[in-house]
């Protein structure tokens, strides 16, 4: 006795149970009325929506629990539209469920596989037609066609070339030059060291020359964060220490991981945190990465004071700012 035979038998589709609406005409009438009411409600809500659109000014607010001060125009327009649609849907479904025939129907499936002779027919047709076209014999045509088709896709690809310029050395460059003043962002005011107390930060950008404009692409590479600590708090090598001025240290604000603005400075721990992926940098140790996915410290901008007493860059950044890329050398 095999397993198959002793399996529990399929008792077949259960007998159809009549709904109340099938046997009781009163129930059917009631269902019809319910559907009609749903449709009427929908129409009423459409009127609410249109009324709100035309007559409720969009600067009127009222207080609702949980939602707080709510815009009457937006809320009633939306509610009107939402319930107008919902009630049409509910009405249709209720109609289908209560009044349309609910006897389950059985449809047979047919095997997708064609009969063997049809398949054989198909294969031989392909063979005959391909043979007639000489596909099997004329391999030169096949190969050259393959070549032509394959290579023709290159033209549209090549034509995408003018989407943008070549990167060249663009990713390495910023607007910082020797002697470029640090100015506040926003405000564009130059900064003196004595303007910053210990524990202070300032968001800075390079000063613009006369008539120059600053683009977002510039900000995306030039943005710098200025932080003042006690000079004794630094744990820097001699070179990096010489890049600071009297406890003031400057870092690129563009994250070395994925380019978000790293400006979240904790005064007590002297840590900088990037809110995008939570890389944490230690300011006292030249922005060394102490947590998170960033693999490199933030580039440090060497600063000094010019003859007028304003903070300026000693030199351009010595490495590319922002996220890594293939051509980056360190």
């Amino acid at each position: 006795m095999t397993n198959e035979i002793s399996k529990f038998q399929d008792p077949g589709l259960p007998e159809h149970v009549h709904r109340k609406t099938d046997i009781d005409p009163k129930a059917a009438d009631r269902a019809e009325r319910q559907v009609a009411i749903l449709f009427v409600l929908s129409a009423i809500f459409t009127v609410v929506a249109i009324y709100s659109y035309i007559f409720i000014p969009d600067d009127r607010f009222f207080f609702l629990p949980i939602m707080g001060d709510t815009n009457a125009h937006q809320l009633l327009l939306g509610i009107g539209m939402a319930f107008a649609l919902l009630f049409i849907g509910l009405g249709l479904v209720h109609w289908a469920k209560m009044l349309m025939p609910d006897t389950e129907v059985i449809a047979e499936r047919h095997e997708f596989r064609s009969p063997d002779e049809d398949r054989a027919d198909f294969v031989s047709t392909v063979k005959v037609q391909a043979g007639a076209a000489g596909l099997g014999r004329r391999s030169l045509i096949k190969r050259t066609l393959g070549l032509a088709l394959g290579i023709s896709a290159l033209t549209p690809l090549v034509m995408l070339r003018d989407l943008g310029p070549l990167p060249k050395k663009e990713l390495e460059k910023t607007s910082w030059k020797t002697g470029t003043r640090l100015v506040t962002d926003p405000g564009d005011r130059p900064i003196r060291p004595e303007d910053l107390e210990v524990g202070a930060v300032a968001q800075v950008l390079p000063e613009l020359a006369e008539g120059q404009e600053r683009t977002l692409a510039d900000i995306g590479k030039d943005a710098v964060l200025l932080i003042r600590l006690r000079p004794t708090e630094f744990q820097l090598d001699a070179q990096r220490l010489s890049w600071t001025h009297d406890g003031i240290i400057a870092f690129s604000k563009i994250c070395s991981h994925m380019g978000c603005a790293v400006a979240l400075y904790e005064q007590q721990t002297k840590h900088l945190l990037c809110p995008c992926h939570q890389s944490t940098f230690d300011v006292t140790r030249a922005a060394k990465v102490i947590f998170g996915p960033a693999a490199r410290p933030l580039p440090q901008l060497a600063i000094m004071v010019d003859k007028d007493g304003y903070l300026v860059a000693q030199q351009p950044f010595t490495e590319s700012v922002g996220p890594s890329y293939w051509e980056r050398s360190s």
Binding site: D58, L85, G89, L92, G292, R296, R328
Partner: protein, 530 residues
Amino acid sequence: MKKSERIAGNVAGYVDDRTGAAKWLRKNLTKVFPDHWSFMLGEIVLYSFIILLLSGTFLTFWFDPSQRDVIYQGSYEPLKNIEMSASYASTLHISFDVRGGLLMRQIHHWAALIFMAGMIAHLMRVFFTGAFRKPREANWLIGVGLVTLGIVEGFLGYSLPDDLLSGTGIRIAEAIIQALPVVGSYLAFFAFGGAFPGHVFIPRIFTVHVLLLPGIFLALITIHLMLVWYQKHTQYPGPGRTEKNVVGYPLMPIYMAKAGGFFFIVFGVTALLGAVASINPIWLYGPYNPGQISAGSQPDFYMGWLDGLVRMAPPIETHAFGHTISWNILIPGLIIPGILFTLMALYPFIESWMTGDKNEHHLLDRPRNNPNRTAIGAMSLAFILVILINGGNDIIATHFALTINQIMWFTRIGVIVIPPITFVITKRICLSLQRADREKVLHGRETGRLVMLPHGEFIEVHEELTPAQKFTLTQHEQNRALEVPASDANGVLNPQGLKGKLRARFSQAHVEQIPAPTESEAKALEGGHH
């Protein structure tokens, strides 16, 4: 004949005279669809796609996809006279100076979230019930393609307004492109027309967002539905339901009314969300500026898992021969998602290879009856959930008094430990459920009623299942593991090699199950009682 009937007849005649479609139409109007709530998930996706097309078209009437600088002069006071891109300004215009514009924007965004959530729920339903098996592998592939494109389309959509949050998202996308070995910086410069953010990216992705991707969606969805139509829908096992039939309701009129009604319901729920709940309040974010950032910058949920993965990545970069490879970006940003989506796309073929099952399947599995697959699904979900949690770790930290460092370490370890544990537990649960089914079939359902026997013993009354219930619980196939021949006809040892062994091992894991009780077993038990 009534007048309306006559008119209908005339119209039908007119169409048939010119197309000969009467026979085809008659057949298809009575097409049978099985009824189950989980079969509506795909419809939610289809309908939210239509809502997206409608609401999106409305938005394009005012949206200006341009990164040209403008000074905002609209009615939202806190941004007056601020310099911003035209796309941000026009989004503000839609929100505050077009009546119903904000509602439509919110409907569009909520519909996008429902679209993605619905796709994921639909995908889970198809996976856990085995609906992807032969002959539906192609539709599974199309589905995986749609999910992938949906993520891209959603990302482009929330990038368009050019606010501080979306600009941050684009910044991160640019960093991923830039991290590609060899071609990265070139591709980035081509895509952005120069250094980030440039002035051309938003107009470009606008075309992709409103034309190219919706076109591909429309084509793929059409094929997806035509295949469902042609191959007929799968159905859950039960009395009267076999591999050879489909039991349900005819398209006309029931399914038309229900499906049509459900479209209005999905639209209504989306509009309700748009009316009562604020989404993406771009006016609060401010215009994009690469020097600014907000605490708690996250993408929408369908990208959140990716962000969580990037957050937990180890800080590894290789610097050699004057070149840099950012593993901390490539591994979480491209390699792991690439592997995940490839495995997901290939799963039907992998499963069929593991089980050696080449048969057509139209009856769905109850998830418990395929413990291995269910456990694989649960494991994958656990993986995604763990990294999704890390994607919101800053919000979770502030709301539950935790630290981002704790959550980061919990998820870094959890992403390796939790999925295998989930696999084992899920498999155990499935087998226990199978055992419970077996108990129920053989000994009846526990009623919770206690009865005292004449000699004072208490027993619980067990109620015997109906034949229909017994059938439903025992109809599933009992799989047999593949066997690897130890040696082939020529005496060569282990002819299939390591691959064969691996396959046999997988196959064994796959068929692990509690034998379904048979009628003869039940009879034998009954005999014992009397």
